[in-house]
Symmetry: C2
Subunit: 226 residues, 2 copies
């Protein structure tokens, strides 16, 4: 079945928009991964010439930013409004990691690009900040704590995609006896994925450590120490 060829020139109704591009990009990523996300394939899936995309985005990076911000809307921050701080942070972090574990190429985008053009991302941060404030965190410390948690989440998202044999030392096993033994013993405990176990362990430690750190500081402040 051949398609009618659309003539050149502005169409009566616009064929493209940021929203349409974002949606098509997400479908394409779902179907063929980030390797399949090319400007040509994206245009084709929208039944449009490749160059038409550049009337709506300045670069492929822009497309990635659109996708990133859309996905940020899927990160669940609801726990910050009805759960204690520790629980809320844990639920948020789990959701955050889950959303981006299948979108690793976005991590450099999130981590390095200003949030200015990412409204949903800003909304997410606002909810998280509110949760921290409600829990009594001093404003001065909140961003650093969020950044620390996010750093852990990004790294953990990579780890979700690590192959199971990533720590296989191969021929070097004799030269790394302690390490290789530890690798062999890993996961000898009940169930669950290795990546999940490491994430849960680290997240619990981080949350507990952050809480301890900030409460110590506040205690000191209250006591007038500095």
């Amino acid at each position: 079945m051949r398609q009618l060829r659309r003539p050149a020139g502005r169409p009566p109704q616009p064929l493209l928009s940021s929203a349409r591009i974002t949606s098509a990009a997400l479908k394409l990523i779902g179907r063929s991964g980030y390797r399949g996300l090319t400007m040509a394939a994206l245009a084709k899936s929208l039944n449009v010439a490749t160059s038409a995309l550049y009337n709506h985005v300045n670069s492929k990076q822009d497309v990635l930013l659109l996708v990133e911000d859309h996905l940020m809307g899927r990160v669940d921050v609801s726990a910050f409004s009805n759960q204690p701080w520790e629980t809320a942070v844990s639920m948020w972090a789990h959701s955050y990691r889950q959303v981006f574990a299948s979108h690793l190429p976005l991590i450099p985008v999130i981590a390095l690009l200003p949030v200015t053009d990412a409204p949903r991302t800003i909304t997410m941060y606002e909810a998280v900040t509110q949760g921290f404030l409600t829990a009594g965190w001093p404003a001065e410390r909140i961003i650093d704590a969020i950044v620390a948690l996010e750093s852990f989440i990004y790294g953990s998202a990579y780890d979700v995609n690590a192959p199971t044999n990533i720590f296989d030392a191969g021929t070097q096993v004799p030269h790394s006896p302690n390490f290789s033994a530890a690798v062999a013993r890993r996961g000898n405990l009940a169930g669950a994925n290795n990546a999940d176990a490491a994430f849960d362990m680290g997240l619990k430690a981080l949350i507990q450590g952050l809480a301890a750190g900030v409460s110590a500081e506040m205690g000191a402040a209250t006591a007038g120490l500095h």
Copy 2:
């Protein structure tokens, strides 16, 4: 000054080797960053045809793996042999982050590729594992703890390269009052880089939390609880 053109055919002395390629790649990265690291530029810096590289590596990924493993040798693990566990982990983590903060494109390589062909990486893990064992960590938990720490380190390496205005909400400031206020207050405290503050805060928390978690578990085990 024109170069003599080398004729085709195997030269009496090999012009290339893994070591030479690694060294040239590192120099090139230092001079022009990862954007400048192309197979063509790499070959040119070695005064060799591009295709000659493929007699020694199978792909550009291979080059990245060579560089990665070389850099792993720069990560300082010495503290594990003469410092208490908390100090050693902290020093190792700082060194690890510093080494890779200027090599972000390697992070997916480290995080996702088996260590099998990375001998220095294995050596690093062996030293870290020994440090954990000496501190009394149960073998079953060590790899998960290392993975958790590494995840945090990778994410923090990205953060080192984040622009200072990354959290600038721009026109959306009115819609994110708490977040924007927290961003404004960040770094109101003495000196230091924002990224460094977040890293120190998170690392301290993580180390403390991991220590607390494992000692609780060991205490329970000692007491015969399970």
